[in-house]
């Protein structure tokens, strides 16, 4: 599973991209967030307030209850500010 971080989430995570193999029970976005928070203090800080974070799985916006699986591209980022 490829996990991507953008904008200030990338800064807090300390990386923009990780190739990860979470355990099988990590099968939703919410479960993935919980698992990621346990990996480092920076990630715990990045995910402290999920109201500030948007999620995309395979480049489509999804909610926290969306399933994730091996091979997915999961991206975390703040609300967008383009235009």
């Amino acid at each position: 599973m490829k996990v991507l971080y953008f904008a200030w989430l990338r800064t807090k995570a300390g990386t923009g991209e990780e190739d990860l193999a979470p355990p099988a029970e990590v099968n939703t976005v919410a479960a993935l967030v919980g698992w990621l928070k346990g990996r480092s203090a920076g990630l715990a800080d990045a995910f402290a307030d999920m109201a500030l974070i948007r999620v995309a799985v395979n480049q489509d916006y999804v909610g926290l209850d969306h399933p994730v699986k091996t091979g997915d591209e999961v991206a975390f980022f703040p609300p967008v500010t383009g235009g």
Partner: protein, 157 residues
């Protein structure tokens, strides 16, 4: 058509090319977005736009498809830049072409409103006090909600 690029663009040349040879077009509407030199707290001497390659194009294409579904468009064009941009620089161009002006005006407005709340770009402003990620504005979300109701695409004028 969607283009995501670091390079600047020439709005006049883009518009000339946009509908060349298509005589069904009665009007073009264009929105051109520029880098402002002021922010909430400090002087901005530039900004850098980060984006999510792949998802950016996918989301912009989806937004264009939705505009074409709602209005009778001959063509639509979105150009969005990324990377370091100085005050006054062009960031984004949205253009729509239709037989009639109402569809061109409305769809252009729709495209920039939806782009601002859906396309995965993030601005970091370079200020005298350091770098600051720009926070999303509630007013942009409110602006986008005006398009929640599908308008009548047949308004002929």
């Amino acid at each position: 058509m969607i283009r995501v690029q670091a390079e600047d663009f020439d709005p006049g040349a883009e518009i000339d090319r946009f509908t060349q040879g298509n005589t069904k077009v009665g009007g073009i509407c264009m929105f051109l977005g520029l880098v402002r030199d002021f922010a909430d707290n400090a002087d901005v001497h530039g900004m850098t736009l980060e984006h999510y390659p792949g998802m950016t194009e996918k989301q912009l294409e989806a937004i264009e498809v939705e505009a074409r579904r709602r209005w009778p468009l001959e063509d639509a064009l979105i150009i969005h830049r990324y990377g370091r941009l100085d005050p006054g620089a062009r960031i984004v161009l949205v253009a729509t072409a239709s037989a009639h002006r109402e569809a061109a005006f409305q769809s252009c407005h729709f495209l920039i409103d939806w782009l601002k709340t859906r396309a995965p770009f993030w601005k970091i402003e370079h200020t005298m006090d350091g770098d600051q990620w720009v926070a999303a504005k509630d007013s942009d979300d409110t602006a986008a909600t005006r398009w929640d109701e599908v308008p009548n695409g047949d308004s002929g004028c």
